[in-house]
């Protein structure tokens, strides 16, 4: 049995990030970022790196920046809460940080554990000085990704590309 092919949106997102110079895909696994990480694992030019906890990705991408490389941190929305103090590197150090947040506790969520952090994601990210690019449909993905790439790696900002459950679909139990 062959693995099902990654959805087209994930292939386009991956290609756009690679085109934008991203070589390092740090991640804590989530159903929403699974396809993106599979693509990064398969590609010879990119590295997919499993984290123990999401804030490690913030430091790792800062380290990548210090030597002139570009990384992203892929996480579920619950991971945003784990990152908060390490996001000091963005506002304090002007590190260009690129988060890809796949939402839970959002549109159609059935797990009550996911709502507190999911509903706080925008507020927390903005409080730490990141720009939030929210994607609610596939039609918005390319322009949001392009804007986030420009703001981050050219504009020197911390950014979060937030893929909502309206876009990804809510997990069913």
């Amino acid at each position: 049995m062959t693995e099902p092919k990654e959805p087209r949106w994930a292939q386009k997102l991956f290609a756009q990030l690679v085109e934008g110079g991203v070589t390092l895909f740090t991640h804590v696994p989530d159903a929403g970022n699974k396809a993106l990480i599979q693509l990064a694992e398969r590609n010879n030019e990119t590295v997919a790196l499993l984290l123990s906890t999401e804030e490690e990705g913030v430091g790792i991408c800062a380290g990548a920046d210090l030597v002139g490389a570009r990384g992203v941190v892929c996480m579920q929305s619950s991971g945003v809460g784990n990152c908060v103090n390490h996001l000091s590197l963005v506002k304090g150090g002007r590190f260009p940080l690129f988060l890809i947040v796949t939402m839970r506790g959002d549109y159609g969520e059935m797990n009550p554990w996911q709502y507190p952090m999911g509903q706080a994601v925008d507020t927390v990210l903005k409080a730490m000085g990141l720009l939030v690019f929210r994607v609610d449909s596939e039609a918005e993905l390319q322009s949001a990704t392009g804007a986030a790439l420009a703001a981050c790696f050219t504009g020197g900002q911390g950014v979060a590309l937030v893929l909502s459950q309206r876009f990804l679909g809510a997990k069913t139990f």
Binding site: G63, D65, G68, A69
Partner: protein
């Protein structure tokens, strides 16, 4: 092994471990580790010191190691800072960068905040935790006679490598360092990337 066995003066540690610090790109964890590293290198351009984001020293070193595979990377941090991201040792072990050395200056206490006792003062053994995380090359030292072997370990063992230096309680090096992290980032990058 308790802290009472430690006979190392932290202020004399780094020059013995790294006779040629300019060969490395270095990140140092907050508080005493960064003061020691800054005094040791005279705050050279190849050092990124931290004053916050506790727990991020090993991740920053790992990011540098993965993205600059032809450079030698050193993380210099304290036991409290390392405990806060102890899982990052597993991330290091899995990623297995061949150019990363981690040195923990383990004084068994939170020196910056008043010397409160830390986990490593009695039961917790960071060398064992590093080994348990999957880092094959580990070493612990506690007296000056072991410094030569430790310096050799940092050159000859197969990276990633982890060295735990159990030091006596006592102040870190006296050095007033640059606290502006944006300036520290710019200085580090300009020196590295403009030189090509």
């Amino acid at each position: 092994m308790t802290m009472a066995d430690a006979l190392l003066d932290r202020r004399e540690l780094l020059p013995r471990l790294f006779p040629n610090p300019s060969e490395y790109l270095i990140v140092s964890g907050l508080a005493g580790a960064s003061r020691d590293a800054a005094a040791f290198t005279r705050e050279a351009d190849n050092l990124f010191t931290m004053g916050g984001a506790m727990g991020a020293a090993v991740p920053i070193g790992l990011g540098m190691a993965l993205c600059a595979p032809d450079r030698k990377i050193a993380v210099i941090t304290g036991d409290g800072e390392l405990m806060m991201s102890i899982g990052s040792l597993a991330t290091v072990a899995s990623a297995a960068p061949q150019n990363l050395s981690i040195v923990c200056i383990d004084n068994g206490q939170h020196g910056e905040t008043g010397g409160q006792k830390g986990h490593t003062a009695e039961r917790t053994d960071l060398e064992l935790m590093a080994r348990g995380a999957g880092i094959a090359a580990t070493m612990a030292i506690r007296c000056p006679e072991e410094l030569g072997a430790a310096a050799k370990f940092l050159v000859e063992s197969v990276a990633p490598r982890f060295l735990c230096a159990r030091v006596m309680p006592g102040p870190p090096s006296d050095w007033k360092r640059d606290w502006n992290l944006a300036d520290c980032r710019t200085r580090f990058r300009d020196a590295l990337l403009e030189r090509g």
